[in-house]
């Protein structure tokens, strides 16, 4: 036989490019504040605080970055963006101002049963004008519920630090704009 035996497409249904329904899930916990975590008697108070601090530190390194506050707020909502830390060095050793969404929650690291796993800061980009579900710095959707929850395995990947702020965009694409480039 000259042809494929079976074609499985996760893009079946153009709008549902990512199929999550039958994907394996991982148990974790999501909180908006340390207080919520502390109210969960099963958690050790030290873990709550330590994970929160760890997520705060990771937030500075991995939050989505924007060159203007307006660009950031367009995605996360008015008043939900903050200036990046002043004087933070980019990879090239040059400082630069940037904006990032405020941390809207955090996902516990220790709850994943992997002691080496970092806690993750969480963000809530707008969906139809209101804050949508929680997302990791890697933009993985971890749902809207607070407390015990399950997430896609890709959500627990260690967040990748930003490479350094883009000093420009749009340096590719001028020749192929609109018409496409395939042959």
């Amino acid at each position: 036989m000259k042809r494929s035996r079976r074609i499985k497409l996760t893009m079946l249904g153009a709008s549902a490019i990512v199929l999550t329904a039958c994907e394996e899930r991982v148990e974790t916990q999501v909180y908006e504040t340390v207080e919520q975590c502390l109210a969960n008697v099963e958690e050790h108070p030290d873990d709550c605080r330590r994970d929160f601090e760890s997520a705060r530190a990771t937030h500075v390194e991995t939050a989505p970055r924007y060159t203007s506050q307006a660009d950031c707020e367009a995605e996360f909502g008015d008043g939900r963006c903050e200036a990046g830390p002043a004087g933070q060095q980019t990879e090239a050793g040059q400082g630069g101002s940037f904006f990032m969404p405020v941390m809207m929650g955090y996902m516990l690291g220790n709850a994943l049963g992997r002691t080496s796993m970092a806690a993750q800061p969480l963000y809530r980009p707008l969906v139809n004008g209101t804050p949508g579900s929680f997302r990791t710095p890697g933009n993985v959707d971890v749902g809207s519920s607070v407390g015990r929850t399950s997430v896609r395995p890709s959500a627990v990947n260690a967040p990748v630090a930003n490479a350094g702020q883009a000093i420009s965009r749009g340096g590719f694409g001028a020749r192929g704009a609109a018409t496409g480039t395939g042959g």
Partner: protein, 380 residues
């Protein structure tokens, strides 16, 4: 090889919508299942063998070109990028896919018209929608059981992503996302990559950023470690970020050495090295004493979708923006004609292996952006 009139599935538009095939009628009819081409297995095997042998000849051309700056000059590859091309080859950066376009009538050996080695499209419809068509046609009794298709594209793409050399924690895929055909091609390849186990991020090429150090980053300032780009190398080396390509901090798919193959000068180089090969047409760089009798075809070194192609002595040039970098001339091999239509066979290679076929058809002897896609099947 035969062109057979068939009844279109009454619900094919719904099936297309379900399968994410959104551009079937963008500039007039594109997907056309009122006909199909029937091949014998022997004919398909002839196309398969031609594909395999040409792919290996192409590697020999690359091998020669990277060692000879004069050849890279003839292909209009800017001097500053010769070393990038050479190193991508000597470092054995793997390629993912490409499409040979053949003139073939079912009887004489397939003749290479051109090689779309860098940014081929019409992939999704060949890999998926034509496959679904055959499944349904057999299932509904419109084609006999046992009908087959030269099409293992999907399986091979998924498998080949694993070996192509993706580095980093995610694969970025960029294209001109305003162009529906490009967007779907990128989405489809991303889908195959996810099935191969990679995290993916799709973006517009214009969203690529550079840091002060000159490294490429995505919209969230995450490093782009591996980038599949449905965007031609010949554009990239002439655009604003060209210098950052030299840092080699991003692994590109297709690799830079594909610049040698995605250039019509390849046709002249192939003929120079393998004159008389049964799957090649005589071809020469323009301006040389080629001795081709009219009509012959004149093609810009860098051209897409039939733009600026002229059949000298027969047909004026198609309009288009290409030609500044020079031309090749190629002996005119009339396309076979079936019921007033001129089909071109697109024969796919994935990771160096023949992987399937898609047929484009036009009422003009120059295949263009508006040519229709006609499904095929194997019987006999």
């Amino acid at each position: 090889m035969e062109r057979i009139g068939l009844a279109a599935r009454p619900d094919w538009r719904d099936t297309a919508a379900e399968a994410g095939f959104t551009f079937h009628s963008e500039n007039g009819p594109y997907w056309d299942e009122t006909a199909a081409y029937r091949f014998t297995l022997a004919q398909v095997e002839e196309i398969e063998e031609a594909t395999e042998s040409l792919e290996s000849l192409c590697y020999q051309v690359v091998d020669r070109a990277v060692g000879d700056p004069a050849v890279l000059d003839r292909l209009a590859i800017p001097r500053g990028f010769h070393d990038l091309v050479r190193r991508s080859w000597t470092d054995r950066e793997r390629n993912l896919y490409g499409r040979f376009d053949f003139s073939y009538d079912g009887g004489t050996p397939p003749k290479l018209l051109e090689y779309n080695a860098d940014t081929p499209t019409s992939l999704y419809e060949a890999a998926v929608f034509q496959w679904v068509w055959l499944e349904q046609m057999i299932g509904r009794g419109a084609l006999p059981r046992g009908s087959d298709q030269f099409n293992s594209l999907h399986e091979r793409l998924v498998e080949s992503w694993k070996g192509v050399g993706v580095v980093g924690d995610r694969l970025h895929l960029a294209g001109v996302m305003d162009a529906e055909e490009d967007r779907v091609t990128v989405a489809y390849l991303a889908d195959c990559a996810r099935q191969a186990g990679f995290a993916t991020e799709e973006m517009d090429v214009a969203e690529i950023g550079v840091t002060a150090a000159g490294d490429f980053v995505d919209l969230r300032d995450r490093p782009i470690r591996t980038l599949f780009k449905l965007y031609p190398w010949e554009f990239m080396v002439r655009e604003q970020y060209a210098a950052s390509l030299l840092r080699r901090s991003t692994r590109f798919i297709e690799p830079a050495w594909k610049m040698i193959l995605s250039n019509k000068g390849l046709l002249a180089l192939l003929w120079e090295m393998f004159p008389g090969h049964p799957n090649l047409l005589p071809a020469f760089f323009d301006g040389s004493e080629h001795g081709l009798a009219q009509p012959f075809v004149r093609k810009p070194l860098l051209s897409r979708e039939g733009a600026n192609v002229e059949i000298v002595g027969l047909l004026d040039a198609e309009d288009g923006p290409y030609g500044a970098e020079g031309y090749v001339v190629q002996q005119y091999a009339p396309l076979p004609r079936f019921d007033g239509n001129y089909p071109v066979i697109g024969s796919w290679v994935v990771a160096g292996q023949p992987a399937g076929m898609g047929i484009r058809e036009d009422t003009s002897p120059v295949t263009r952006n508006t040519s229709r896609f006609i499904p095929h099947f194997i019987q006999g």
